[in-house]
């Protein structure tokens, strides 16, 4: 058995394989393996929790891992044995599903994850009883490797002499002539199938070592024009390269975490899940982060300053595991914030934005903040500080829990006061904090749903005057 390395093996220029006489089963690049070259198709969905801010701090955005599906032609032995090398070393074995497209009746009897990446000691131990050539400062020893320790190796030579070679400066090279480098993470199964031989199988699993987060860059130009770039920073630490994968990035929804190791049970979907499918195949190399364009760059986008008045903390209750069913629940946190708003555009996730500005052609730093998005209209907002002239107050006028204990009707009055000397347009933003299933029954001004948990009303408040908005909402759960 010889090691074969060839640039001719697509798609990676770094493919190395072990010719075993049967099939190329091992692909390794730099201590990590490639998946994709042998795949018919790989699809990956990487999840993250939705991001939100509360009291000026940003929460959420936690990495929730990825769901990987690899479709491949494989050879199932007559005894039902199947090896499937090139899976994420960080996969959760409990989540592995194998489906044979060739024989849907195929069942898994046993499953094992072999996760023994290349390291010198493991490699030496696997070569016990196999040929070895040891190069010392003075001469060579050729024979069979018989024992290995951290201090020495034992070699039996052709004349059955046993040589103990100290591992130190005098030992230059240990050549393991029968070694292979197929120690990539491998799933092994014993299958029950009526059709041994070639199968097309689909293997899917959840892995924790993949994550993504949105990142934005906004460059302010002359006259309020903004150039907005939206990126997804995708990180792969799964010890496997995924080549030409179909990638979907998702946020929101439930956290999908199983209750174990003392962790709390999985929470229900308290935010509506959203996803962004990357339109072309993507190669995710392990140990690297990849920046993917999340939406086409918006050049010369027109911006305007808007004042947003919130009586409750932004996205209040977005992370709650059960509804706020008590009428006196009232997480008040009035704050008035000025935003730079860009209207329209694709639906994007909230994320960190780095803002720059061109001043007479020179690039200057402005700062960083959380970019907030409106999932309904596609508008994005970047906070640019507090606004002192406006105040908001919130009064619960009525609250009626449903008779079945599964709903609550509430009437709320929002009053915005303008202490300034000019009439001001204000966006009143109200977080429907009790639960994510809600429906407006009535509103005194026509508003718009700004996210799965928020409603907004755009009103003009006269100088020195007030503006009142009331609404009736029904929560169900």
């Amino acid at each position: 058995m010889r090691l074969v390395c060839s640039r001719a093996m697509p798609p990676s220029p770094w493919l190395c394989g072990a010719a075993t006489g049967t099939a190329l089963t091992a692909l390794l690049v730099g201590g990590h393996a490639l998946a994709g070259g042998r795949e018919q198709q790989t699809t990956i969905t990487i999840k993250r929790a939705a991001e939100f801010s509360f009291g000026g701090e940003t929460y959420g955005g936690a990495a929730l891992g990825a769901f990987v599906t690899q479709r491949r032609d494989v050879e199932v032995g007559a005894d039902g044995a199947l090896r499937f090398p090139g899976v994420a070393s960080t996969l959760d074995p409990a989540t592995v599903e194998l489906r044979s497209i060739t024989d849907p009746a195929t069942r898994v009897i046993e499953q094992r994850l072999v996760n023994d990446l290349v390291n010198p000691e493991a490699l030496l131990l696997r070569q016990l009883g196999k040929p070895v050539k040891v190069t010392l400062v003075r001469g060579e020893i050729v024979g069979t490797l018989r024992a290995v320790s951290t201090d020495a190796i034992v070699v039996e030579t052709a004349d059955h002499a046993v040589q103990i070679v100290q591992r130190g400066a005098q030992l230059i090279d240990i050549a393991l002539t029968a070694a292979t480098v197929d120690q990539e993470p491998t799933l092994e199964w014993k299958l029950a199938t009526a059709k041994p031989g070639q199968h097309t199988v689909e293997v899917s699993y959840r892995t924790s070592a993949m994550s993504w987060q949105p990142e934005y860059s906004a460059v302010l130009g002359e006259g309020g024009a903004v150039e907005l770039s939206a990126w997804a920073n995708v990180t792969n630490q799964s010890n496997i390269d995924f080549v030409d994968a179909q990638l979907t990035l998702a946020d929101g929804g439930g956290d999908g975490i199983a209750p174990r190791d003392g962790a709390i049970a999985s929470r229900p979907a308290s935010t509506k899940p959203r996803s962004w499918k990357i339109a072309r195949p993507v190669t995710l190399r392990t140990g690297q982060s990849l920046q993917l364009e999340l939406a086409p760059r918006r050049s010369n986008a027109k911006s305007r300053k808007v004042i947003v008045a919130e009586a409750l903390a932004e996205q209040s209750g977005a992370d709650n595991a059960e509804p706020y069913a008590e009428c006196d629940s009232n997480p008040r946190n009035e704050h008035i914030t000025q935003y730079l708003e860009l209207e329209g555009g694709p639906s994007l996730p909230d994320g960190r934005v780095r803002m720059l500005r061109r001043v007479n052609g020179e690039l200057t730093a402005v700062g960083e903040d959380l970019l907030r998005t409106n999932g309904t209209t596609g508008a994005v907002r970047i906070g640019i500080g507090a606004f002192d002239d406006i105040a908001i107050s919130r009064t619960q006028q009525d609250c009626q829990p449903g008779a079945n204990g599964r709903s609550l009707d509430e009437r709320v009055e929002l009053t915005v006061a303008n202490g300034g000397k000019a009439a001001t347009e204000v966006v009143i933003r109200e977080s429907m904090f009790r639960w994510h299933q809600w429906k407006l029954l009535a509103e005194s001004e026509k508003g718009t749903q700004a996210s799965t948990r928020a409603q907004e009303w755009r009103v003009k408040v006269p100088a020195g005057g007030t503006k009142v908005v009331t609404y009736n909402v029904r929560y169900t759960w």
Binding site: R2, C5, G31, N119, I172, V181, Q291, T364, G367, G383
Partner: protein, 460 residues
């Protein structure tokens, strides 16, 4: 101006070399490779760099070839690799994705050299004790004490849309390894006029080099949080020209206009200096702070109005003044400081050139009141001047509002003769009659809430 040449902008024969020497000495770069000079003035900049006090914002422009798959490879080194804040974009193509490809041998073709011979193959990795794992034609090798040749250089891999053969790729990143300071030289070519020259001393430890870098200076820390209300950026001073920048220290010409500006002789009383300045929002409340017997010395000075040269506040730095002697040589006259820019600061500075005979000053704290209920602190200072000369003198009293940065000058006795000279510095003007005394009284209010922090020029 040729590369490496000292700056010489004064017309007198023989003076250029002297001025260049003066600037070199002023920046402390003597004997080092200084002054890379202006690059090709017509070619576009390959880097646009904005220098802040604590860091720099770098925008590199790369014109690169794109292969059929839409992939462009840009070699990387230095700070571009280190920063997590790298941004990649393009003005002419849509960038679909980008990633850093780190340097290393793992996965690459290598030649492992040992005293017993070489092993060629692909590097599988390296253990912490330095053992190299190499997949060669004759199996897997575990090699110790070897020298590895080969491997790949770090690079940026950019995928662009469409099928261009070339693309312009812009990299933006902050760096803390581009340190700088500015120094000025004032050449008084006649008694009442002078020319100001500015030089930017740059210490490039970024690991990057640029052929045609363009610079701007914003003399404050690079902001992290977006400032409230998104105010205009007013402190950007553009350095004219493009420069070849290599690693290490070098000096660039600030490119100030060469015209002469008036120098106004005056007497300056500045007994405290900046040593007591506390740049905190909460003022120092110790009643005895700044109460001392201060020197009576008044100095002969010239006041330099920098607004004639730049609309934007120039970066802070020492100003060394030289006068041209009868033989064309430069004679050192004195030194002052351009303070860091601040809101509504007068763009002027005074340079001390000698002690003033016959004029003395006295500084006394005449009132102190701390009002915790209203979160304010009031202090009154009285300055008394004694002029024994036979003629009246114009005098500038420089006072430092050293207790904190949020202050208001609630009262001053000098009428319109007041100017904010720095974040915590005011100048108060007074005429002291011949053989007589004059007094300046001012009252400063410090607050520790966000309040009116700007200088009030008018008396209440």
């Amino acid at each position: 101006m040729s590369r490496g040449a000292p700056i010489a902008v004064v017309a007198r024969p023989g003076l250029g070399l002297a001025l260049g020497l003066a600037l070199t000495l002023a920046l402390g770069c003597a004997g080092r490779p200084v002054g890379r000079g202006r690059g090709d003035g017509n070619a576009p900049a390959d880097a646009r760099i904005t220098l802040y006090r604590d860091s720099a914002l770098v925008e590199e422009v790369h014109r690169v070839a794109v292969d059929r798959a839409g992939v462009a490879i840009i070699p990387l080194a230095g700070d571009v690799l280190a920063t997590a804040e790298l941004q990649v974009g393009s003005p002419d193509v849509d960038v679909l994705e980008w990633s850093r490809v780190p340097s290393g041998t793992t996965g690459a073709e290598v030649e492992v050299r040992t005293s017993a011979g070489d092993v060629r193959g692909r590097a599988l990795g390296e253990t912490t004790d330095g053992t190299q794992l190499v997949a060669a034609d004759d199996g897997v090798h575990l090699v110790t004490g070897a020298v590895v040749a080969g491997g790949r250089a770090a690079s940026l891999r950019v995928v662009v849309a469409g099928a261009p053969t070339h693309a312009t790729i812009e990299l933006r990143y902050p760096s803390e390894h581009l340190r700088w300071h500015v120094a000025y030289t004032l050449i008084a070519d006649r008694g009442d006029r002078g020319r100001l020259h500015g030089a930017l001393a740059l210490d490039n430890q970024t690991g990057r080099v640029w052929q045609r870098a363009r610079f701007a200076i914003v003399d404050r820390d690079r902001p992290i949080a977006i400032p409230s209300g998104l105010p205009d950026e007013r402190f950007v001073v553009r350095v004219r020209g493009r420069f070849a920048v290599t690693g290490g220290e070098q000096r660039l010409d600030l490119g100030l206009p060469a015209r002469a500006i008036p120098l106004q002789p005056t007497l300056v009383y500045d007994p405290v200096g900046t040593s007591l300045d506390s740049a905190a929002q909460m003022p120092l409340g110790d009643p005895e702070y700044g109460v001392a017997k201060w020197p009576a010395r008044v100095v002969e000075s010239v006041v330099l109005d920098v607004s004639a040269l730049s609309r934007e506040p120039l970066p802070a730095g020492a100003v060394r003044m030289f006068a041209i002697g009868a033989d064309g040589s430069l004679a050192w006259r004195g030194e002052g400081t351009l303070l860091p820019p601040a809101d509504d600061v007068e763009l002027r500075t005074a340079i001390a050139i000698g002690e003033a005979d016959g004029v003395t000053g006295q500084r006394t704290r005449t009132m102190f009141e701390r009002d915790d209920a209203n979160r304010r602190l009031v202090e009154e200072i009285t300055l008394r001047f004694d002029n024994q000369r036979q003629h009246a003198v114009e005098l500038l009293a420089r006072e430092h509002l050293y207790r904190g940065i949020c202050w208001t000058l609630a009262y001053h006795s000098t009428g319109p003769r007041v100017a904010k000279e720095g974040e915590q510095q005011v100048g108060l003007g007074v005429t002291v009659p011949a053989r007589a005394t004059a007094t300046i009284v001012y009252r400063v209010v410090y607050q520790w809430d966000s309040g009116q922090c700007k200088l009030s020029k008018s008396a209440p």
